[in-house]
Symmetry: C2
Subunit: 318 residues, 2 copies
Amino acid sequence: MQRPPSLRVPTGLPTRVKVVEVGPRDGLQNERQYVPASIKVDLINRLGHSGLTAIESASFVSPKWVPQMADGHEVMQSIDRVPGTTYSALTPNMKGFESAMRAGADEVVIFGAASEAFSNRNINCSIAESIQRFEPVANAAKAAGMRLRASVSCALGCPYQGKVHTDAVRDVVARFADLGCDEIDIADTIGVGTPGRVQEVMDAAASAFGLDRLAGHFHDTYGQALANILASLEVGVSAFHSSVAGLGGCPYAAGATGNVATEDLLYLLHGLGIETGISLDAIVEAGGLISEALGRPNLSRVGSALLAKRANLCGSTD
Amino acid sequence: MQRPPSLRVPTGLPTRVKVVEVGPRDGLQNERQYVPASIKVDLINRLGHSGLTAIESASFVSPKWVPQMADGHEVMQSIDRVPGTTYSALTPNMKGFESAMRAGADEVVIFGAASEAFSNRNINCSIAESIQRFEPVANAAKAAGMRLRASVSCALGCPYQGKVHTDAVRDVVARFADLGCDEIDIADTIGVGTPGRVQEVMDAAASAFGLDRLAGHFHDTYGQALANILASLEVGVSAFHSSVAGLGGCPYAAGATGNVATEDLLYLLHGLGIETGISLDAIVEAGGLISEALGRPNLSRVGSALLAKRANLCGSTD
């Protein structure tokens, strides 16, 4: 693989980054076709063996709402648990939390929007109420010794109200901090953010929590994800979400491509000399296999380029 | 269109950027199907009326090598010339230069690789020889009062030799500077660069020429183009090449997507509060039309997202 000559990490950037793989949950949940548990298990196992230390693996929501995730228990119970890797599950309520605990999740994920319009339209309550409802889940997670993560959606813009103010993001982050979260991610759900604004929002979030426990969750709908990640690195964010092969997408954004691809993120980070502990080759392989299994295009540019190169090399005579 | 709340240009970034549109030449030259002159003329006219001040419009190379560009004279003579806009043409030799002059090009473009392996394999001579051969073209352009631009290919990596040293880039830039170039672009021909390395290469190039006359030409093969552009902005580069709808691609890179899309670049720049004088809407429109005319996917993420959104809005009842 082509490696840039210089691998000195530019001044001011973190030297190590944590990548949170969200393909098996956030990614697959947005795929239209039903994906059998065996394929999910194989994907998670490949991801676990690539060196990833955090994999969002299941969602314990009502199977009526999200049939794709109905097999969460089976999936969580069937995967190889790589020591040191955190397998997380989305839990909208106590019922979900109990299922996640029974299934053996290491971390539960709660969520809220930074946009009142989004919160009202999607869950029919205010932001404050939506977060308050998670208090029992947060308390139960702490009592059970499980990690607690929160996701702040629409932090860079909202499909209904447009602008989202920095104060609103800081406020949501502060509320999640009060619940005792171990990690909070700032999500650009509809992918409209650009680097200057991203730095402002990350600074605001950091003022209410802690830079070292913040993560960036960027969508590539407008192609800005990697530029936004670079901008986040520059203000000290050292954890990012991504989805192998760019699995998934947001149903609220027209023409949406979804989460930034893990392959593209790793190429950026490794090119900057930043350590991740993850094998890009293993992720490219996993991305190729899941794309093939689902009969969908591989949305990772790095994945597509490297797989095409490999295929070329194999077919070449020189 | 969604606009970020803050449009204060982040400290240290240029407040205005020149965008050089290369779709009609670099883009179309790499499309497989023959594109009639009338479609080229319509595309260039739309681009000219969008506010773009620099459009690479034709290539005066042997029609045996590049049949797609055989109609350069007709195209250059048929387009509306928007006052203040520079219409440039690629000229590999004196014959090409004379054709470009007859056709009314405002600027001629010469080129050379920063990789000896690439130069030897593609034009069968050393880098130094390849640049020396352009001396008559450079002199003739100066004598005729035409602008002279040079393009340094493989500046971030080479498909044959892999690594390309910073010194090699600086050396090629210095040679082009000696020929009297008005502008020099640093091209990541195979799209392998990442931001840290890009900043090193831009710094080296600036030491041999002038930061204010340097441009960045990035390919999105590995999805890194916008991150590399952000990194270039941070070291003061204020001109970038891009291709409407992501037209074109490099035949040397497997699985290659080509030049960064103009729409995606403008979204980044405008989001940062950087002025370009260009209407994103007009470019999105032009990108949609040329993609349709060629029956190819629109490779701009911004173009695809905004066009899908428009289509949705038109079909929507609320």
